[in-house]
């Protein structure tokens, strides 16, 4: 898969993971990598970039065992961005399905 294309999709997945709950880096990466072939090198720079763009906030939480963890929390801007990306993605994937065999993603 084209790296640029993959990064776009992973960006959507990261946003979508964080809209459900606040998470720390490792759990985001392991959740996504259960479904698609990604590793830290793909996900971590995206997390940093989106944080810098204001789509995520970070905070540190102390743990009962081990070092404190850095959690990512989606911002209002992040949620807006996710909705925008999601509708773009749905439109795109519908068009692809039509091209491939006339069927729709809904089926």
């Amino acid at each position: 898969m084209n790296a640029q294309f993959k990064r776009g999709i992973v960006e959507l997945c990261v946003l979508s993971e964080l809209v459900q709950e606040d998470m720390y880096g490792y759990s985001i990466i392991s959740n996504i990598s259960e479904h698609i072939d990604v590793n830290e090198n793909t996900v971590y720079p995206i997390l940093r970039r989106l944080t810098k763009q204001g789509l995520f906030d970070t905070y540190t939480e102390t743990m009962s065992i081990g070092a404190p963890r850095k959690y990512y929390k989606i911002t209002g801007e992040g949620t807006e961005k996710l909705n925008e990306y999601e509708s773009e993605w749905k439109k795109f994937i519908d068009s692809v399905y039509r091209i491939l065999g006339g069927a729709s993603n809904e089926k």
């Binding site: 720390y24 880096g25 490792y26 990466i29 590793n39 830290e40 090198n41 793909t42 971590y44 720079p45 940093r48 970039r49 081990g66 070092a67 963890r69 850095k70």
Partner: protein, 365 residues
């Protein structure tokens, strides 16, 4: 391992115009991820291959950042001038004194200058390892052309693995250092004894390796048993050989030593700690002997010993210095392959130009 990893990452991030707190933030995040994977039971090697080497991830991490302008170092000027100096020396020796056979060696000045200038001489003890091929080549040609000692002059190339091991001494005990160096001392002694006409018995000098090796044995009694059976083997071998003239049969005298080695579990490769070095050296000697005996290219097979400095460099030097330090060995292999196999001595020295080229490319990346 983790500290090295994070330090290398930090060093690379510092090459970019990135705020200090941002650099620290990334390093801390990688520290966390590293710890998270360690907690899942992965080894440090596995974690590093999962996270990717700092060099392979740096592009993603620094996207959108400019590189800090590289400070013009004095050494850059020296490297830039060295090809011209080399060319002048080459021309003067060739046209002026008709020393074409030696004059090409002037070009070795270019990689030598690049290595001294680019590798941190004070901080990196492997500079001498990287330079050793040149010292050996120059020494070899002096011994060959001037004194006609092509053989045993080639033994000078043994200084390459010897220097590599010696420069890695910080990571091994004194005894491990001696054990790692012993095969080379033994090889020189073997050829010396051979020249004196003792080829048949001379190989016994290689027993110095297991004799020293057995001193690493923690149990005094076991160590004593090993030393004793080795000595029994050596004396038995010489006794049967000289008395009955049956040198092949005499090898049976080593059966007790062999049985003990198996029983104590020595005949297996151990990849941990300082034993790695002498395990690797033994393996190299074995491959060298097997390949040489099977194919007979003695004038080329010693190149197998270059695996030792390459191993040491890969293990201990990181980043662009590693690439630069490795190029002399690649150059040396190419040089001799082109020379011996294709009789291309006239062009073979060009192989050494890959060193300054690599040094320049590695530093501009």
């Amino acid at each position: 391992m983790k500290n090295n990893y994070l330090e290398e990452l930090k060093g690379l991030l510092n090459l970019y115009q990135m705020e200090d707190n941002e650099v620290n933030d990334i390093v801390n995040d990688y520290d966390d991820m590293y710890n998270n994977w360690i907690e899942t039971g992965m080894s440090e090697e596995e974690v590093e291959s999962k996270l990717g080497t700092p060099r392979s991830i740096i592009k993603e991490l620094t996207e959108g950042y400019r590189r800090k302008p590289r400070k013009q170092k004095k050494s850059d000027k020296v490297i830039a001038v060295s090809p011209f100096v080399a060319l002048v020396i080459f021309m003067v020796l060739g046209f002026g004194y008709d020393l074409w056979a030696y004059s090409w060696m002037a070009f070795l000045l270019i990689p030598i200058t690049a290595i001294i200038a680019e590798m941190d001489v004070k901080e990196n003890e492997h500079v001498l390892t990287a330079l050793s091929p040149f010292i050996a080549v120059i020494g070899y040609f002096i011994l060959g052309f001037v004194y006609g000692y092509w053989h045993p002059g080639w033994l000078i190339f043994l200084i390459i693995p010897v220097i590599a091991i010696f420069n890695s001494r910080k990571s091994m005990s004194f005894l491990a250092l001696l054990i790692s160096l012993s095969p080379f001392a033994a090889l020189v002694a073997f050829f010396y004894l051979g020249e004196l006409g003792h080829w048949q018995q001379g190989w016994l000098v290689f027993l110095i390796i297991p004799i020293l090796g057995a001193m690493e044995e923690k149990s005094f009694l076991r160590g004593l048993v090993i030393e004793f059976t080795i000595l029994i083997g050596a004396f038995g071998y010489l006794f049967i050989g000289y008395t009955y003239g049956e040198w092949n049969l005499a090898l049976l005298a080593f059966l007790p030593a062999l049985a003990v080695a198996f029983a104590f579990g020595y005949i297996e490769v151990n990849y941990n700690g300082s034993k790695t070095y002498w395990g690797f050296v033994l393996l190299t000697v074995a491959v060298y002997l097997i390949v040489s005996l099977a194919f007979g290219y003695w004038n080329l097979t010693w190149l197998i010993f270059l695996a030792i400095p390459v191993f040491a460099i890969v293990k201990e030097v990181r980043g662009s210095e590693r690439v630069i330090a490795l190029t002399p060995f690649l150059a040396l292999v190419l040089f001799f392959m082109i020379g011996f196999l294709f009789d291309g001595w006239v062009y073979a020295w060009l192989a050494f130009l890959i060193i300054p080229v690599t040094a320049i490319v590695a530093n501009n990346e």
